[in-house]
């Protein structure tokens, strides 16, 4: 049987289908790798419940491990605890920025409308630096961007439209 550390190394090479510069382990969605008898069990948690990439991710994980010769394999889904952007690996944040996606700013998830309104009324809105020029003069265009996990922003200085990987 293959060492579990080896399996983790293989999984670190499986790219996220939507954001191929980061891997499924960078994303923090592989929650566990273990043996059940002689069957390798990989436990994956979904990012968003309706994320269409979820089934593709499972397919890519299975394909990668089968290509390494793993024959007895089972993928399991775990909902609890729910996935959080806090689980993104530190190196993944830099990779996102280099790819043009502003990484999540920890501790700024939607805490419900009340916190959001207080921010708006006091002008203490979230500052998301532009991943292209670093300017903090950016504005939110829409709460929902090209995928459920991102919001659409635009830089007022360099005018670049960009995605912000929002906290959840």
């Amino acid at each position: 049987m293959v060492e579990l550390a080896q399996v983790w190394d293989w999984l670190a090479e499986v790219p996220d289908p939507e954001i191929p510069v980061i891997s499924v382990t960078d994303l923090g969605i592989v929650r566990d790798v273990a043996y059940d008898g002689d069957t390798l069990v990989v436990t994956v948690t979904p990012t968003y419940s309706g994320c269409p990439a979820t089934s593709v991710i499972n397919f890519e994980i299975e394909k990668a491990l089968r290509a390494q010769g793993v024959e007895k394999l089972r993928l399991e889904r775990r909902l609890d605890p729910p996935w959080s952007t806090d689980w993104l690996a530190p190196e993944a944040r830099e990779k996102l920025r280099a790819y043009g996606i502003a990484p999540p700013i920890d501790g700024t998830g939607a805490q419900g409308v009340v916190a959001g309104r207080i921010n708006r009324l006091t002008g203490a809105a979230l500052t998301v630096p532009c991943p292209r020029c670093g300017s903090e003069q950016t504005q939110k265009v829409s709460q929902f961007g090209s995928t459920p996990c991102k919001a659409a922003y635009q830089c007022r200085d360099c005018l670049e439209p960009f995605d912000y990987f929002k906290c959840i």
Binding site: P46, S49, L79, P81, G109, V113, S142, F144, P148
Partner: protein, 256 residues
């Protein structure tokens, strides 16, 4: 014995109420795809619909498990007829204009978020896990719908008039969210789901705050429609299901 049996049935019903409400609203919102007034809103609506359909898969998946008759989420979504649906009447209201769609979303989100928060304390860990997952997504739905209700309500004369008209039309469908029947009472007693009226203080406070900011006025009328949770629907749901279920009815078990 009969008590245990009743609780199983109540659990199935309660899960269908949650899953059918997210399914019907998710489908309604998805009807906007390609038709929204601006590209960003089109994408936002599609993303909200996607979250709701994803949550439906979890709720109806668990409903099928609880029922124990081998029905999965797809079987429940595509092979039940209108009288077996348990969604709130509010979510089957047609989209109307953009303002009506947003007002419906806000009135629902303002219930959905505290409801999920309360469900996180469910005595059934499977329900608590789904609620925790869905709750994080719904916090963003609520932030967006409340924000847009305020901006359009306190906007131009035209947008204000449309938002007030949307509120007047939809208001009589909001009471059902907080009404209890025997199923709700059995689930609340077992600690599985919160009593619907326990959500009322939070819903009232949030809706009052947002409507005031939006310069909109809730109608005085007290009459509230009911029946969706028990399977008595408006004619709109049947038309929606005819579209939504067409493929699985014409080609049962089709896969591709």
């Amino acid at each position: 014995m009969s008590v245990a049996l009743d609780l199983d049935l109540a659990l199935f019903e309660g899960l269908c109420r949650l899953g059918d409400s997210t399914l019907v609203l998710g489908h309604r919102v998805s009807e906007w795809c390609g038709h929204a007034p601006v590209l960003e809103e089109d994408i936002a609506l599609a993303n909200v619909a996607l979250d709701l359909i994803g949550q439906t898969q979890m709720w109806l998946g668990l409903a099928g498990e609880a029922e124990g008759k081998g029905r999965d989420a797809d079987a429940l979504a595509f092979r039940r007829d209108v009288w077996d649906f348990r969604n709130l009447l509010l979510v089957e209201r047609p989209n109307g204009d953009f303002g009506q769609t947003l007002m419906r979303q806000f009135l629902f989100d303002a219930w959905h978020q505290p409801m999920l928060k309360a469900l996180e304390a469910s005595s059934d860990p499977r329900i608590a896990a789904i609620a925790a997952k869905a709750g994080r997504e719904v916090a963003y739905h609520l932030e967006r719908s409340a924000d847009l209700v305020i901006r359009l309500g306190d906007g131009t004369a035209e947008s204000h008039a449309r938002m007030q008209s949307a509120l007047d039309r939809l208001w009589p469908y909001t009471g059902e969210m907080m009404m209890s029947d025997d199923t709700d009472r059995a689930l609340a007693e077992a600690g599985i789901m919160p009593a619907p009226d326990s959500i009322r203080p939070q819903w009232d406070a949030l809706v009052a705050e947002v409507l005031s900011e939006a310069t909109l006025k809730a109608p005085d009328q007290r009459f509230m429609h009911k029946g969706g949770k028990q399977g008595t629907h408006s004619e709109h749901l049947g038309h929606m299901l005819a579209t939504m279920q067409w493929l699985q009815r014409a080609y049962p078990d089709a896969t591709w």
